[in-house]
């Protein structure tokens, strides 16, 4: 299994940057996410996570998204579901979500994902 790095569209802000590091177990998704045909973008991420948790290694999952559309949020929930299931089976999982202190709507989103997935999501404030 290899790490997954996606930054194919640096000029297109509606594609996030993905850096899932197999060796360190630190996975990050950052930027914005509102592309067309969302499932084509997220399918490899879902597959990678499903393969990774089979290896029973710890994972730190960092979210640094500033905006995502409805269909992207469905895939984020899908990834959190995978991590929650892995945690329930004894896997070591840490999920962090970075947001700006002057962006209360993002904190609402984080709380919603936590409620929906049952997964502890630690909010971290960063300010530019």
């Amino acid at each position: 299994m290899e790490s997954l790095y996606i930054n194919n569209y640096p000029d297109l802000v509606y594609y996030p940057v993905v850096n899932f590091n197999y060796y360190s177990g630190v996975c990050e998704i950052s930027g914005e996410s509102y592309m067309e045909e969302t499932y084509r973008f997220y399918e490899p991420l879902i597959k990678w996570l499903n393969d990774y948790v089979k290896e029973k290694k710890p994972i730190e999952f960092n979210v640094k998204l500033t905006y995502f559309n409805t269909s992207s949020s469905r895939f984020l929930l899908e990834m959190f579901d995978i991590l929650k299931k892995y945690q329930n089976e004894g896997g070591q999982v840490q999920v962090n979500w970075y947001y700006r202190s002057d962006d209360p709507d993002m904190l609402t989103e984080i709380n919603s994902f936590e409620a929906e997935s049952g997964l502890k999501i630690t909010p971290f404030i960063y300010d530019k």
Binding site: Y14, Y67, T70, E116
Partner: protein, 172 residues
């Protein structure tokens, strides 16, 4: 009586195909150049993108893109006065969708923010992963704007139905 500062001034109007490159460029202009605090600019940006995606996905008028997929055609207007920014879109819809859209918007306007958050969570959980989620998008617009939606459906002389939706983001 309206004073001059109450009268909304257009920031921009766009009329044409709503592909992501265009939506994104216009959205970035709003997010970066409007004179407003970060949280207000983010609210405008998020409302704008959600409203534009509704046109892109659900407008009955469609054009082909390079990859043979299609995007919706419609109009979006951003205007503002001293009190608010307003984002309005208009696009043709299937006649049978009019009542459904109206009932979604009425339901969204009559619910509290907390109830909408719960409804959004439930709809997201119940949706399939290939579902684009029009209903959730409308809920998101209402939650991001913190104001009720304004919406109408009108019919032209050729019996085409058009859906117009406005969302206001307060400046204070």
């Amino acid at each position: 009586m309206n004073t001059k500062s109450d009268y909304p001034i257009k920031i921009f109007t766009y009329d044409g195909p709503f592909n992501m490159r265009i939506i994104s460029s216009l959205g970035k202009y709003l997010a970066e150049y409007l004179e407003a605090s970060f949280d207000i600019r983010m609210s405008i940006y998020r409302v704008f993108i959600e409203i534009c995606q509704n046109v892109a996905l659900y407008s009955e008028d469609r054009v082909k893109q390079e990859n043979e997929s299609t995007v919706g055609v419609g109009t979006v207007v951003i205007d503002s006065n001293d009190q608010f920014f307003r984002c309005t879109s208009r696009n043709r819809i299937k006649s049978e969708h009019g009542e459904i859209l109206m009932s979604y918007c009425e339901q969204i306007n009559s619910a509290s923010s907390n109830d909408l958050i719960k409804l959004k969570e439930r709809l997201r959980r119940d949706s399939s992963i290939k579902d684009n989620g029009a209903h959730i998008g409308l809920i998101s617009i209402r939650l991001f704007s913190k104001n009720k939606l304004t919406f109408t459906i009108d019919r032209d002389f050729n019996n085409n139905d058009f859906f117009t939706i406005s969302s206001i983001i307060s400046k204070q």
